[in-house]
């Protein structure tokens, strides 16, 4: 199969079931909202070393937020509910509450909830104040900068972690441009984030290592500089490979993002667009690229 | 010719102090001599047998039984009657009045609602630390009168129970420090060691500030004064309150009727409660009418509630502001009234009392008063503590038995009420 003349591998991205939530952070102005959102979603590329995966989903206008201030929505993902609560509490406490003028709200209405503000409130040392508006409870925590407002509970739901596409280009510049194009388009999709820096993974990995103390190592099959030394999946003319990893609140959103990404990445100079998997046995969800593109899912 | 009889330890029913040491000499069914009575009490005894009511229907004299039966009819046939008064009658009559209220689906309220009812409402919020009068006489080293003027309202109070009395541990005036808080320098204030003139309506602020000071906190100030009293003075007062071994506060309608009304008493009760963390401290409402305390007591054991009780559902419900006399009359919600031993035409706001002219009103009272003018039915009765016996409760809820020592032409309140009750019940 080809998209705009670019070859699409007949393979699938192997993804996992994760728990996800959406956090809205607002501030007095865009500068501080963005600062907080970036800090909160920083160092959250992979649960393997970061404990949580996160990314900024969307910038929100004052009309779109509950407190009428500029904001951002951030998605967070972990494998287990417990860890989501734990990691989120750390991040909200350390990066949002500490950021000037911010407030923090739940952005996901769902049955299942985790207590975040309800735990962070104790930071108020007894001076915290609860407010209940139409069944949503908020906590006002006195801080040096004034008051930090945070919602008591955040909705969580099952989502997908690890959807991906791999873009193989003739050279680094072309591959990166294609990847950037892809990320830009994928960001238009609601309910997904690309948790790696700039949305792009430069150092992909495989499971297993020659060293017994490591359980992951560089993705040798896709490393262009050693394609002569080891078994490679790359053609001779491949100069650089970039991966885009997608976490989303639903299968549909992830598929939609992959589809948009592939289309946007299909530019001259790209050799092939493929996806990463472990043979299909580890993940809970397999996204077949051809199926996605055929429009089986939507469009 | 006729023999002179002497009675000792008679109880005067005028005020809530219920002095039970009156001596009376009687000859030919007339009071000849009175001892130990205060100026008001003396007048009361001397005048007791004058200005007596007779049974009346629509301004015309009638048989006693006719008046009774008309009263029963009015109560039976009304949809929402009011029974009011009760503070100057016996517990026996009060009990029966409650029964009549129940039988006739009435609202029943006592003069408590316009005197110390607010204190009872405050008690329902916070509780109350109190004592009998003798305990205060025996132990209290610091006595405070707050918006209370016993010298004019309870003339023998200070001699029998407080400043000037002889107690077990406190023997005389010099064993006690006395402070008065009031909006004007009353005769009681003149007997005190210290008088503080309170800005009218600011008792609440003052009490709350004292609570702060007693608990070691500083109240917020605008001009170094609270309720017209300097903060430095208040600090001294707070220390005195804390250092009292057995302090006591007597409060009057200067507290219950003003500003925050029952919340004033709530503040006072909260202060007194707090003060028991330091020493002992008690408070006492200066009950006005002789058996107004009894009206709350009897109503409470029969209905669970002290006043402002409604029986339209054949069980008691309670709500001051809804089932209280002033509200019911002023809002024109009742279609008949039974006034027992009270004079609302003199004592209630004019517009509330005026409604009694428009609805069938029954008055049970031994004397003519301003309300009897408004009554369709007037029922005479015997004189409590003179020609009628019965039970009365002092301001500190100590019960006393009244003994009658003269003959009367008319049955007493309790008997009249029993008759009315029977007529309604057996209808």
């Amino acid at each position: 199969m080809q998209v705009k003349g670019i070859n699409i591998a007949d393979t699938f991205a192997e993804a996992f079931s994760m728990y996800g939530t959406r956090v809205i952070v607002t501030a007095e102005n865009d500068k501080w909202a963005k600062t907080a959102a970036r800090e909160a979603s920083g160092f959250a590329t992979s649960i393997i070393e970061c404990g949580i995966e996160a990314g900024i989903e969307k910038k929100l206008s004052p009309e779109e937020t509950i407190d009428g201030r500029p904001g951002y929505s951030i998605l967070f993902f972990t494998m287990k509910k417990d860890s989501l609560k734990k990691e989120l509490r750390k991040r909200v406490g350390q990066t949002i509450m500490t950021a000037a003028t911010t407030a923090c709200f739940n952005g996901l209405q769902s049955e299942e909830k985790i207590k975040v503000g309800g735990d962070i409130r104790y930071f108020g040392d007894g001076f915290q104040i609860s407010k209940l508006y139409a069944d949503r409870r908020f906590w006002r925590i006195p801080i040096m900068g004034g008051e930090f407002l945070i919602e008591e509970s955040f909705g969580i739901q099952k989502g997908i972690g690890g959807g991906n596409i791999i873009i193989i280009g003739e050279d680094q510049k072309t591959a990166l441009q294609a990847a950037e194009n892809a990320v830009e388009k994928m960001r238009e999709v609601k309910g997904v984030v690309m948790p790696f820096p700039g949305g792009i993974v430069s150092s992909g990995s495989k499971i297993e290592s020659k060293y017994s103390f490591l359980n992951a190592s560089t993705n040798t099959a896709f490393c262009p500089t050693i394609k002569g030394q080891t078994e490679s999946k790359l053609k001779n003319n491949a100069g650089a490979v970039y991966e885009i990893v997608i976490d989303g609140l639903s299968t549909e959103a992830v598929a939609q993002a992959m589809k948009r990404g592939i289309k946007a990445a299909a530019v001259p100079g790209i050799i092939e667009i493929t996806a990463g998997n472990y043979g299909g046995d580890l993940g809970t969800e397999n996204f077949y690229l051809h199926e996605i593109l055929r429009g089986d899912l939507d469009e | 010719m006729s023999e002179v009889k002497k009675y000792e330890n008679i109880t005067c029913t005028f005020c809530g102090a219920l002095c039970d040491n009156i001596e009376v000499e009687v000859e030919s069914n007339q009071i000849k001599k009175i001892k130990n009575a205060c100026a008001i009490s003396r007048k009361k005894y001397m005048h007791a047998l004058q200005d007596r009511t007779i049974p009346m229907l629509n301004g015309k004299e009638c048989d006693y039984d006719e008046a009774i039966s008309r009263a029963a009819d009015i109560l039976k046939n009304s949809k929402n009657p009011l029974i009011y008064g009760l503070s100057s009658t016996t517990a026996e009559a009060q009990k029966t009045a409650v029964k009549i209220a129940e039988l006739s689906g009435a609202n029943i309220d006592s003069t408590s609602s316009v005197c110390h009812g607010p204190g009872t409402m405050a008690k329902q919020l916070v509780g109350m630390v109190t004592a009998t009068l003798g305990e205060i006489k025996n132990r209290s080293d610091l006595m405070i009168f707050w918006g209370a003027n016993p010298v004019e309202a309870h003339p023998n109070h200070s001699k029998r129970y407080t400043m000037l009395s002889e107690g077990l541990f406190k023997k005389n005036r010099s064993d006690r420090e006395v402070i008065v808080f009031d909006v004007r320098k009353t005769p009681t204030a003149k007997m005190a060691d210290q008088f503080f003139e309170v800005e009218p309506g600011k008792d609440f602020e003052l009490l709350m500030a004292l609570r702060m000071l007693v608990n070691g906190k500083e109240p917020e100030l605008n001009n170094n004064q609270i309720a017209g009293i300097d903060i430095e003075d208040l600090k001294v007062i707070a220390e005195k309150l804390k250092n009292a071994k057995y302090g006591s506060i007597f409060y009057g309608m200067g507290l219950t009727m003003t500003g925050a009304k029952y919340m004033n008493t709530w503040a006072a009760m909260s202060l007194i409660r707090d003060l028991n963390d330091f020493g002992r401290f008690v408070m006492m409402p200066m009950r006005g009418h002789g058996n107004v305390a009894g009206s709350e007591i009897t109503m409470a054991w029969q209905t669970g509630y002290p006043f402002a009780v409604n029986f339209s559902r054949a069980y008691p419900r309670y709500n001051p502001g809804e089932y209280t006399a002033v509200d019911l009359l002023a809002n024109r919600e009742v279609d008949a009234a039974f006034i027992i031993a009270s004079d609302p035409a003199a004592n209630l706001p004019h517009q509330a009392a005026a409604y009694l002219d428009e609805i069938p009103t029954i008055v049970l009272d031994p004397h003519w008063n301003l309300t009897t003018d408004k009554a369709e039915v007037v029922i005479p009765s015997a004189l409590k503590g003179i020609t009628a016996s019965g039970t009365v409760y002092r301001m500190d809820h100590v019960p006393l038995h009244l003994r009658s020592f003269l003959e009367d032409e008319w049955p007493d309140d309790a008997e009249a009420l029993v008759k009315i009750g029977e007529l309604i019940e057996n209808d």
Binding site: - | N80, M208, I359
Partner: protein, 284 residues
């Protein structure tokens, strides 16, 4: 949707007359005006539903001209200022009264909506635990309060009064929101435990006396009790959230000026827990 329409008869058994002139009105206990009860009745049963008039029992048909059919939505026309307990303890449905109502309207309400297009009496929404009350005119005393001796007043739900409210509004309030567009009497939120009260008009004396927790938002300056401390003049962000919620969820119009500018924050009552707050909007 079907509706039940009740129109109060001008001559009815609650009137107190003297020489054929109306001199007063006996209270009518109308807790049967409740959608939970009425929606499943047939018309005949509805006509015979009881109303207590003082101590005497009458029927709906003695008081109302009945139109429409029994339904979860009830519209009532007439001056019902002597009717108590309308909508008391209702859990669902809707009552609209085109006129006044008396005491205990929607007291102990649990859910649904009640709208009074006139004035109402004391104890509106007392001890309610849910639902939405909207009063176009004035309310009496003890809005959302606790009954005598009880520990907790209103506990969830929302009361919106476009006119004025009386004394002891939000007395011992535990949760929920009360919004008073007009003025408010004395002892607002006395002994409040938690919740939010907004007064956009003027306020009587002794606001927040004995309050433990909770938030009182005032648009007009007041004389504070000596038991409250000043903390700061600031623009609290949470109020944005609160105001948006009132406008979005309940269509309550918040005066624009309150949405910006500073509020002075006082806390107290310091004789009690001292964790209550009074936020007073500061004119320039």
């Amino acid at each position: 949707m079907s509706k039940l329409r009740l129109k109060l008869k001008e001559d009815n058994p609650a009137l107190i007359k003297r020489d054929n002139e109306v001199i007063g009105k006996v209270p009518v206990e109308a807790e049967n005006i409740n959608p939970d009860l009425i929606k499943d009745l047939n018309l005949e049963d509805l006509k015979n539903l009881e109303l207590l008039v003082g101590k005497k029992t009458y029927k709906f048909k003695d008081f109302f001209e009945i139109a429409g059919e029994p339904a979860p939505e009830i519209e009532i026309y007439g001056d019902l200022s002597n009717f108590k307990y309308i909508g008391a303890a209702m859990t669902s449905g809707k009552i609209i009264v085109d006129g006044n109502t008396g005491m205990h309207t929607a007291s102990e309400m649990k859910g649904g909506k009640i709208e009074i297009r006139g004035n109402t009496g004391d104890w509106l929404g007392a001890e309610m635990t849910g639902g939405f009350i909207k009063i176009y005119g004035d309310a009496g005393h003890y809005v959302g309060a606790a009954f005598r001796g009880d520990k907790l007043g209103m506990n969830r739900g929302l009361i919106y009064i476009k006119g004025n409210a009386g004394n002891f509004t939000a007395n011992k309030m535990r949760r929920g929101e009360i919004i008073i567009n007009g003025n408010c009497g004395d002892l607002l939120a006395a002994q409040m435990i938690a919740g939010s009260v907004y007064v956009f008009g003027k306020c009587g004396s002794r606001v927040g006396a004995g309050m433990k927790r909770g938030t009182i938002i005032l648009s007009d300056d007041i004389k504070l009790l000596p038991t409250f401390n000043y903390n700061i003049s600031y623009n609290p962000n949470f109020l944005n959230t609160a105001y948006n919620h009132l406008e979005d969820d309940y269509s309550i119009k918040i005066p624009d000026y309150l949405k910006s500018g500073n509020y002075a924050r006082y806390t107290g009552d310091n004789t009690e827990l001292g964790k209550g707050e009074i936020l007073i909007w500061e004119k320039e």
